[in-house]
């Protein structure tokens, strides 16, 4: 039986991690490779790098980073942020990323999802969706959540999967940063609508929140600040989820 996954997310700008990480053994707290290694040793099941610089000059820095991470990290990692074309995705995958996450560019040109899935297989084509409550459902937001798209979340999730996305990284704009738990109703709606694994994102504040997300159907749950600031350790989250009956990769 597949275990549920715990995924720390690192925001990267110009090749450096933007938010700090409280791992004592780090020599350089801003170095994504050091942090990746520390998370790997701590039992993270996967890592997610989100490039928030996304300027053209910074792409080269990002590629060098992906190469260094691939060299040293023995767990899978996804890279997202500013992927605009199948060529961008191919370059990242060749540099050593295991998955590429698509967001704004896929909303503008949904055929991009198919192009990446054909190139690397659906399991490497992840669609990241930022959504916000609207009326009885949720609206998809683009450009880092700053713009409305008018698109319904469930429609877009279904379309992305039909076009070849093999995994959905679902972020609740309403819950993100609030630390009161993941958006469970939204998770239940999306996991019921699509057959692919869904990664819950936005709202983790305590270990029990991860188990709540799994109960709502998430295959994996992602968090940034609770891990970076040392509020929660990977091991304590895994132990809490295992105690609630979810299979976890623990001990590693």
């Amino acid at each position: 039986m597949l275990t549920r996954r715990i995924i720390p997310c690192l925001d990267v700008k110009d090749g450096r991690v933007v938010k700090g990480v409280k791992f004592e053994e780090l020599r350089d707290a801003g170095d994504p490779v050091e942090q990746a290694r520390a998370y790997g040793a701590a039992g993270a099941d996967e890592l997610c790098f989100l490039d928030i610089s996304a300027s053209l000059e910074s792409r080269g820095t990002l590629l060098a980073l992906v190469e260094r991470v691939a060299r040293e990290l023995a767990i899978p990692f996804a890279v997202g942020g500013g992927v605009r074309s199948a060529g961008d995705a191919e370059t990242l995958l060749r540099a050593g990323a295991d998955k590429v996450s698509l967001n704004t560019a896929a909303l503008a040109d949904p055929a991009l999802i198919t192009a990446v899935a054909r190139l690397a297989g659906s399991q490497s084509a992840m669609i990241a969706i930022d959504a916000k409550a609207r009326g009885p459902g949720w609206e998809v937001r683009s450009h880092g959540g700053t713009r409305g798209t008018g698109r319904d979340l469930i429609d877009w999730a279904r379309e992305a999967v039909d076009r070849g996305a093999g995994e959905i990284l679902l972020t609740s704009m309403d819950h993100d940063g609030v630390k009161r738990g993941f958006a469970l109703e939204m998770l239940r709606a999306v996991t019921a609508a699509v057959p692919v694994p869904v990664i819950a994102s936005g709202g983790a504040g305590e270990a029990g929140h991860f188990a709540d997300a799994f109960e709502a159907g998430a295959a994996a749950a992602l968090a940034a600040s609770v891990f970076h600031f040392g509020t929660l350790g990977i091991s304590s989250v895994k132990e809490a989820c295992a105690a609630r009956g979810f299979p976890m990769r623990w001990p590693v």
């Binding site: 597949l2 767990i75 050593g96």
Partner: protein
């Protein structure tokens, strides 16, 4: 230079070649990338990695079949990883039915809709036969197709819902690994170490 851990990695120009090379280095190996059938035929050990669709994989791999057969006839250990495993079989149904390398009996089919597809994530391997690779512990899977391999060549499996996935297959010195040992932390590295420790093929 130790001659003990040498391996020639077949460069199909696909997928996560870099990850596989780096993982072999971390496992103490001396990998050498090659597109030369002569070199592959004479290799001490051969690794066939790949992440792509079956058809594309075969397009790139077909010309290496005689070289792989030559390596196997010298009893050189050969391992296919993920798509590199799938193309060892007789045929695959991704992008229409295509012939594979036919080095192992069985077909490659899409995972049924009754289970979550793609099959992505970690699970523990279950041994189902003797294997020189001694597959154990945690394995990271990421695939939508599986090898329907006979029990006689299945050495470890994983259960995804009601579907039994051949995780490690082998016959003689030929092996296939469906999951990604290069991304499977300590246990994955241990499997690569055991592959690299298998006796080299005859000179």
């Amino acid at each position: 230079m130790s001659a003990a851990n040498r391996a020639v990695v077949v460069d199909l120009g696909l997928g996560n070649l870099g990850s596989v090379l780096q993982a072999l280095v971390r496992a103490g190996g001396e990998p050498r990338l090659s597109t030369d059938p002569e070199e592959i035929a004479r290799a001490p050990r051969v690794v066939l990695p790949g992440v792509a669709a079956f058809g594309l994989g075969m397009e790139r791999a077909a010309k290496f079949k005689p070289a792989l057969q030559a390596a196997l006839s010298r009893h050189a250990p050969v391992v296919g990883i993920c798509l590199g495993m799938q193309i060892l079989f007789e045929e695959g149904e991704e992008d229409g039915v295509r012939p594979g390398l036919g080095l192992l009996p069985g077909r490659v089919t899409r995972l049924p809709q009754s289970v979550q597809v793609p099959h992505i994530g970690w699970q523990k391997l279950q041994a189902s036969g003797n294997s020189a690779l001694k597959p154990l512990g945690w394995a990271y899977f990421a695939h939508s197709f599986r090898c329907e391999a006979p029990d006689a060549v299945t050495q470890a499996f994983a259960e995804h819902g009601e579907v039994r996935i051949a995780a490690v297959v082998g016959r003689g010195t030929l092996f296939g690994v469906q999951y990604h040992p290069e991304k499977s932390a300590h246990d994955g590295e241990a499997l690569l170490r055991r592959f690299l420790a298998l006796p080299e093929g005859a000179a």
